[in-house]
């Protein structure tokens, strides 16, 4: 019995090691900024005319109209970490040419495309990537536990941007909820709330999202958030970068 358990543990440990090895192969990082605008534009037309957006969505988020019926669902290609077989133009072109069918994946092979078209289409896909921002720091992020009987709560954090050039937070996505930055204005004892389309991050900016002020509204929560849970948040910046965060849920109280 003990020997069997030991064998099982070694087996699991071994497979973790193998998976680890598989992920660590050297792959040239894609550089969306180095893409040719003409390739990206040509690629966008190929993306549209081949119906890619039906599954992958027009933004590569994997939320096209067909995605809801797919298992596994298409991956979010804005996240460089989500790619199965490399994030460079060449690697993406290869994936489009051969498709993926293992483990239930339903990505067909687009074998009718020429090498040039594949390269253009891959350039467009790479242009959708939003690598991690190295310039915006996120500190002390937390999300308030939802009181019972409500599908709404708020998230708080401090955004620090002390490097040039200026940037702006232009979109926030949360797994399992709609997310929107709200400005709360206190005026004559009344609070009015307005959604912000963009939150400026000037050089040297320290922007605090805190109770009673600027906050991230999370609404339409599919299930209540309980202290100890984590919420997956992605902040998208104007600089075509993102911060992907796993934010702890806490109960409101004296400590926050």
């Amino acid at each position: 019995m003990n020997a069997r358990r030991a064998a099982m543990i070694w087996g699991i440990a071994g497979s973790i090691f193998l998976v680890g090895c598989g992920d660590s192969f050297e792959e040239p990082a894609a550089d969306p900024a180095a893409l040719l605008a003409a390739d990206v534009e040509a690629g966008r037309r190929i993306y549209d005319s081949n119906g890619c957006a039906n599954c992958h969505g027009s933004d590569g988020s994997g939320r096209g109209p067909n995605a809801a019926y797919m298992n596994p669902p298409p991956r979010d290609y804005r996240d460089p970490g989500a790619y199965k077989a490399g994030i460079s133009v060449d690697a993406v072109a290869q994936s489009i040419a051969t498709g993926f069918s293992e483990d239930g994946a339903a990505m067909p092979a687009f074998a009718h495309l020429t090498a040039e078209q594949l390269r253009q289409l891959a350039s467009f896909v790479v242009s959708l990537q939003r690598p991690e921002s190295e310039l915006v720091e996120v500190e002390g992020a937390w999300v308030a536990e939802t009181p019972p009987a409500t599908d709404v709560t708020a998230g708080y954090m401090t955004l620090v941007h002390d490097a040039a050039p200026p940037d702006a937070l232009v979109q926030v996505e949360a797994k399992g909820a709609r997310a929107r930055v709200h400005a709360t204005r206190q005026r004559d004892g009344s609070t009015s709330m307005e959604p912000l389309e963009r939150l400026e991050l000037d050089v040297g900016a320290v922007v605090e999202l805190a109770p009673g002020g600027l906050h991230l509204m999370l609404s339409g929560l599919r299930s209540p958030l309980v202290a100890g849970d984590f919420v997956e948040l992605t902040l998208y910046f104007e600089s075509h970068t993102a911060r992907r965060l796993s934010v702890p849920v806490r109960r409101r109280g004296a400590d926050n």
Binding site: A149, D151, V152, T191, H215, M217, G220
Partner: protein
């Protein structure tokens, strides 16, 4: 003629410099207690609320979340903290209820002497069951109040409050609204309007003053 002028200019420069030095040097800081320097520093500036008598507010009748009818006139001798909110409020309402929970903690044995009145500005959505469940979470003695939009509007107007719909989603409207918390004394009168950024200690001191007042 030149010398006295030069002297005056020189004196002026010295004077301006001296005023600048005096006004910008750091104020002498009081000796702080070793254990709680923050609290001690706050003590220097702290003063409890000075209660007043406002000519806003007054009696009203609304539906309580437990199914009963709440008539403020029938509650003479009791102390209340009233504010306007709604359960789908992302920030201010839960933050205020959390603040009032901290006030409750500070009040200790006297916490049961004050009841929070949460008047819903979203009566279509905030049914009695929802209000009860929501308020129960925060650990403050609280009554959720609701009613027809007209009756709610009357109470909001009487307390010089306001609210407006700022956006709508498929799950319901979002509101902007008044953020005062009204301290109501044993005679049913408004004695203070607390702001969302008031400290728990400040609010508790106001409540204690009202609780100290004689009944009747």
């Amino acid at each position: 003629m030149q010398n006295p002028l030069r002297f005056l200019v020189g004196a002026l420069i010295v004077l301006v410099g001296a005023v600048f030095w005096v006004s910008t040097r750091p104020a002498e800081s009081p000796v702080l207690g070793a254990d709680e320097p923050a609290e001690a520093a706050a003590d220097v500036l702290y003063s409890p609320p000075v209660l007043q008598r406002f000519n806003i507010g007054g009696d009203f009748v609304l539906d309580a979340h437990d199914g009963s009818v709440f008539d403020l006139a029938a509650h003479r001798g009791e102390v209340f903290l009233l504010f306007f909110g709604y359960t789908r409020c992302p920030d201010f309402c839960p933050a205020t209820l959390s603040l009032l929970a901290q006030v409750s903690e500070r009040l200790g044995d006297r916490a049961s002497g004050v009841t929070t009145l949460f008047v819903s500005i979203d009566p279509q959505h905030d049914g009695s069951e929802r209000l009860g469940e929501y308020l129960g979470y925060f650990g403050v003695p609280a009554i959720g109040l609701s009613g027809s939009v007209d009756r709610i509007d009357d109470v909001v107007a009487a307390y010089a409050g306001s609210y407006e719909t700022v956006s709508s989603s498929e799950n319901g409207p979002m509101f902007g609204h008044s953020t005062y918390t009204y301290l109501i004394d044993r005679a049913g009168g408004v004695r203070y309007t607390f702001r969302p950024d008031d400290a728990p200690r400040f609010i508790a001191d106001g409540v204690n003053q009202v609780l100290d007042e004689a009944v009747g």
